[in-house]
Amino acid sequence: MAGVVVKGHFPRRRIVQIVFANVTRYLFRGAARNWLRNIGSTAPALSSMTLLLLLSGLVGMVGFALHNLEQAQAAQASLLHVYMRDGVPSTDVDVLWDRLAKDPRVASVTYVTKAEALARASRMPGLPQLAAASDGNPFPASLDVRVRSIDYAAAIDSLVRTDIAVDPQDPTSYDRGAYQRIQAVLFGLAVAGSAFLLLLGFVAVTVTMNSIRAAIHSRRDEVTIMQLVGAPRWMVRGPFVVEGAITGALSGALAGLITFGLAIAAMAAGPASFTQFAPGVTVTVAAVAAALVFATGLGLGSGSSLISVRRHLES
């Protein structure tokens, strides 16, 4: 009807620019416009996702602190104090030292004198009072044995407790159940934390999927028309995925900022107690946690909207 359209030969760069501009318009600008237009229906998803991501960020940081605590406990449990009998000859100590140093399960052996033991105790809460109440030095000399794995601690304890150089009353610092109890508690917390995070993730995905489903239904006619005029699948589905990504990214950014702010505020409020209760949680760790919360929001938003689009949008 309108005759043949003569197309000029554009340079490749110009064509790339045009394609880029069109993709940006149909995919991103359109999605941003629709997202703003549907802010009323998106707001519940945005707020609940922000809350869920914030909780995830806090749970993640608590998990990180607990992990550090567990590492510290493991390091402590792998250090065995073998207490020397009072007045033991140095030759007996040397023999035991040699025996332990040659054992493949032992990483290192260090001799701690009574004076060093007293000095160490004076730095520990409660022990200086104990030292002051005694006439002499109540702390025994010891061999501090670091085992390669805490699984070897029991065997080394059995090996040394009958040795002639070792105090028969209080031979070692080994407490069979202590580390296992800590591990059991931390494992329980890890399982509970993971289940909580999974639940939060499920809720976040469901909420976003529903908001995208609502967006698809509200624009059903528009989608149909786009499909009927030959719009490719990515052009029809893409804007919905971008909308989900916008919701996720905004929720993530907001939750990340709050997570970071809360961590910084807690650090500033009581630096000493914070280090004790949340070992290893520094400003850098808080920033990384905030970035992870943002990335999680972006991923959850895009992923859940992609699922929703695949489920609710026909080809």
Binding site: M1, A2, G3, V5, F10, I15, I18, V19, A21, N22, V23, Y26, D221, E222, T224, I225, M226, Q227, L228, V229, G230, A231, P232, R233, M235, S315
Partner: protein, 237 residues
């Protein structure tokens, strides 16, 4: 010359009911053809099969060399760029102007078309349908006939080899309907095959173009252009 549209033994069933039963047809370039029949005869089903809104239960459908019957869902958009479609309810995007509606159809099919070129070609198409001065109007600012013209401009702006129209005069008065038919005839003279599903007996009989009659899913009559036949389906409608 190879047909633009070819149906070979096409059957489409909805459950136990046959909407189309063993339909064979071919459309040549530049041919304006009416598809008539009573309600429920299968006209809309036939048009939906061409545009691959639905798949045939059996048989082959070739549209401008594309096997529509075997097309993957991801490739349907490619087929639709070869087919212009005009709907009874226009299906214009309400938030876009007439010109933007027409330009959209161009750019979704070819992202390398710039805004300027799309705008220029959209205006050409709107002028061709007599709406050169209404490009900036939104659909709700246009009459039914004008909206249908925008829909026609959108359908032909990409210069498809085949144009299908489902009851394009269903929402229009008689005078506007005649104008639309003149427009379709003009489009056909430029080599586009035009297939119009309609109930409008007066238009069909007066224009004396090729008429295919569907009754209960079967193509019962294929009357060549220039012959005035009896509308057999009227008796059963």
């Amino acid at each position: 010359m190879r047909p633009i549209l070819e149906f070979t033994a096409v059957t489409r069933a909805y459950g136990p009911r046959l909407a189309l039963d063993d339909v064979n047809l071919a459309l040549e370039p530049g041919e304006l053809t009416f598809l008539v029949g009573p309600s429920g005869a299968g006209k809309t089903t036939l048009l939906k099969l061409i545009n691959r809104e639905i798949r045939p239960t059996s048989g082959e459908i070739w549209v401008d060399g594309i096997a529509a019957h075997a097309l993957k869902a991801s490739r349907v958009s490619q087929l639709r760029r070869h087919v212009g479609v005009v709907f009874q309810d226009f299906k214009l995007l309400p938030r876009l102007t007439a010109k933007e509606n027409v330009a959209l159809a161009l750019q979704v099919g070819d992202l390398s078309i710039s805004d300027d070129e799309a705008s220029e070609r959209a205006m050409d198409a709107l002028e061709a349908v007599g709406l050169g001065d209404r490009g900036g109007s939104f659909p709700h600012q246009l009459s039914g006939g004008q909206q249908q013209r925008v829909a026609v401009a959108r359908a032909v702006v990409g210069q498809p080899r085949l144009l299908i129209a489902d009851e394009p005069t269903g929402n229009l008065d008689l005078e506007t309907s005649w104008q639309m038919m003149d427009l379709f005839a003009d489009i056909a003279t430029f080599g586009t095959a035009v297939l119009i599903a309609t109930h409008n007996v007066e238009i069909v009989t007066r224009l004396q173009r090729r008429v295919m009659t569907l009754v209960q899913g079967r193509l019962v009559r294929d009357q060549p252009a220039g012959r005035t036949g009896r509308m057999a389906w009227l008796a059963s409608s």
